[in-house]
Symmetry: C2
Subunit: 328 residues, 2 copies
């Protein structure tokens, strides 16, 4: 296959690979000519087999199961651990399971790595909590309430980072950890619960968009193609000097209210209502991307929010128009 | 037994109960007339059966094993989870095992709790990292590098707090979490590696005390009897309104160098040498005890460092004079 011998081809496992981001990453992994096989492990808690249904490649297999207990005699050259819910309403509904997926998942998957293999992990901007500085560089230690209602997600990501970087320090593990800022786009669950998907679903159904609090809390909204492009560049490079976590996101900060207004503009007659603020909703979040620009030359999150939302809107409309897909 | 019927007597499990703090707590648990049985689970990584050897009580049993995999058909009214190394040189030597003990230990032990039972956990002032405010109240979110060399301990304590408080939020778990500041006293391992035990061992052997850095980093030094008195008051009370973590420690801040000088004063001819500072050694650490004073009326860490160190010194001297005990 393009001159790559069988022994140089790689066995890759993606935990959470039928989720929103995972399935986009699977698309790109299957374009690699050095890929020997791709095993997706997913318990379908927030992922869906629909997200992989368009793929017809004999190298791909989907194993339904929890990342923290999945077993196989196979060992992998690269493991990409994305197994976790990422939306507050999902992880807050089962915090113990969220911690198990992240921390327990990392422990279990490390055991499936070939000696010298690479372990990639999607951490989160939530490790910065409600940040006291903006934008947030990777060196910022964060402001997370480890007893709060978002802590299962935030702290299990932090603890998994600790496990991986300490395994790097003590055993030389080849680690790649990204801290993803808000990501949106096609294949977000319709009931995901985060701002952009909520607004689009609401605009397409009730016509009434719910903004929690005054909506002035800001986020950096990363369109999924841009974000997964960053993952591809960081996860697949063999020679990389950077040993720490890497922010990946869009650094154009836009308020939740402005997003709602833009979605409203796509559906004449739709309107905005304000509800009580969500507990411990961060007031701002914006990646410092200086390190990412240096480590991943040429990469940028170029899709502006208007363009990204338009594309996402079209995808949601097609899903809602197809009842079977919408309820899948 | 003092009018307490069999059915009102309690089955208690202490994970890490043959360690330094755990064994002092076991002493006090066995003074409870409502105690039906006390199961100590300990893998003897940093604990020692010697610490329980003086106890001759049919209610006590020691099970050698890891907190994260220990199984029994028995269920417990109270579980006290202390299973973790607490000294940097120990937890940094096996970070994955440290995370497993704390987080995995909590998951496994929660499964051994009777419905309505109480789960007590010893967290740490390390959740505050290198604090930017002093003293540290429980509401301070901390400054921890989740990728640093101390992160296995700091982050696994934070993540375990998250698991417990989220289980409280979602399932009403009766939780007691303390954040212990530096503790010292008899039954510290001679090779523990922390300041007071190091200084005393060195004074009694080589006569040369090693101070890392300039020694101006400060700590609040809690004598073990005072600290365990605080645990007893917080862990054993049935009616308590406080639902969050509680700082337990001595709030008299003393520099490492002053501690070294005091130990020197106990052994004529001993001296101090300075070595390179330890990476990410916190510059200061002092508990805000206002909440503890309110929740635990009458409790205070009354033993001053001179008195506490004198008692610890005498215990170390007796251990070093007994070769069998010193090498146990």
């Amino acid at each position: 296959m393009h001159g790559i011998s069988r022994k140089d081809r790689r066995a890759v496992l993606v935990a959470g690979g039928s989720g929103f981001i995972g399935s986009h990453l699977a698309d790109r992994l299957l374009q690699r000519t050095d890929l020997d096989c791709l095993v997706v492990v997913d318990n379908l808690w927030t992922g869906s087999p629909q997200n992989l249904a368009h793929l017809n490649d004999p190298r791909l297999s989907l194993e339904i199961g929890d990342a923290e207990v999945f077993t196989t005699s196979q060992r992998f050259d690269e493991i990409i651990h994305l197994a976790s819910p990422a939306s507050p309403c999902w992880y807050m509904s089962d915090p113990a399971r969220t911690i198990r997926a992240n921390v327990g998942g990392a422990f279990n998957l490390l055991g499936l790595l070939k000696p010298g293999g690479r372990f990639c992990f999607s951490s989160t901007s939530e490790v910065y909590g409600d940040p006291q500085i903006s934008p947030q560089p990777e060196s910022y230690r964060g402001s997370v309430d480890c007893t709060g209602p978002r802590s299962s997600y935030d702290e299990s990501k932090r603890c998994t980072e600790a496990l991986l970087f300490e395994t790097q320090r003590t055993q030389g593990l080849d680690v790649r950890v990204v801290r993803l800022f808000n990501v949106y786009g096609p294949r977000t669950r319709i009931d995901d619960g985060r701002a952009i998907s909520n607004f689009i679903s609401q605009a397409l159904t009730t016509g009434v968009l719910t903004v929690y609090g005054d909506g002035l809390q800001s986020r950096s909204w990363g369109y999924v193609d841009d974000i997964v492009d960053g993952l591809e560049r960081f996860f697949w490079r063999d020679n990389i000097s950077h040993r720490g976590p890497l922010n990946i996101g869009n650094n154009c900060e836009v308020s939740v209210l402005d997003i709602a207004k833009f979605v409203c503009s796509l559906v004449p007659g739709s309107s905005i209502v304000h509800h009580e603020p969500v507990p411990q909703d961060p007031t701002n979040r914006c990646p410092d991307l200086r390190l990412a620009k240096r480590i991943l030359p040429g990469w940028e999150a170029a899709t502006d929010y208007q363009e990204g939302i338009r594309r996402t809107f079209e995808w949601f409309r097609s899903q809602i128009a197809t009842p079977a897909a919408a309820t899948a």
